[in-house]
């Protein structure tokens, strides 16, 4: 499946958001995820099915002002 992950096109076999995070080697409870401009809560990632060309944002804490 073709996905746009943090702005980059990638081909990934995952079918749910949780599987995608595992495939990309993301870990920890501090991640925020959005699919096609909508927040997907961490407790909903197991059930969230991905579709071809979904735009996925994965954000983490960073320094800020």
């Amino acid at each position: 499946m073709q996905l746009i992950i943090n702005g980059e096109a990638q081909t990934i076999a995952a079918t749910t958001l949780s599987q995608l995070l595992a495939a990309l080697d993301y870990e920890g409870d501090w991640l925020a995820t959005a699919v096609n401009g909508e927040l997907v809560h961490r407790e909903d990632r197991n059930e969230h099915m991905l579709s071809d060309n979904d735009r996925i944002e994965i954000l983490t804490p960073m320094q800020g002002g």
Partner: protein
Amino acid sequence: MLDLYGSQIASRLLLGTARYPSPAILTEAITRSKTEIVTVSLRREMAGGRNGGAFFDMIRALGVHVLPNTAGCHGVSEAVLTAKMAREVFRTDWIKLEVIGNHDTLQPDVFALVEAARILTGEGFQVFPYTTDDLVVAERLIDAGCRVLMPWCAPIGSAAGPQNLSALRSMRAHFPDVPLIVDAGIGRPSHAMIVMELGFDAVLLNTAVAGAGDPVAMAEAFAGAIDAGRQAFGAGMLEPRDMAVPSTPVIGKAVFA
């Protein structure tokens, strides 16, 4: 104590966490400044989230309040989504709402800001809006549910200091009961002291500290200036006048001629 959405805060210095020479210097600056609120951000990161996790662990270990921002957002939907993602990560309803309207000045898009603030307060967020010193915008933000206002005093990172003292003074007079935090544009401790002497409740700093030759010493210097300005405001200052007033009594002066 400063009351921000029900949290009682002793320090009137809020510190950003960006652009420090090292994590150790950032940690030391936070500790020595005695700040109780630090601002943080959310960004894409490809290292499996581990860099972000390490940063978050460091901030959590300091035991301070975390104020996530929506820095760099240019529209309502982008800012609202970023705020929701920040709540997911940082587990706080606080959000420093930035909606930028101009690339060169990083001036807030106040129309989008008010709209985003209304949406977010409706979803339970406690919004700290980064705004201009415009009174009508400030009223709209209050109408939208904001209980704190954060006017700029000069463009972000400019270090230019307060550019419009009369506007800041008006804002203080019009909103006597709203916590007012000067955000953006402070360059040196004397700038911070000036706005505190005007009666502002707190100052948010980042570049002025992070970019200093010795950020830790500068954080302490700002903390002292902010305390002094606050104390002076409470003590009541003299108004300037044109003519001299002798400070030593004239009565009882010896006559030698």
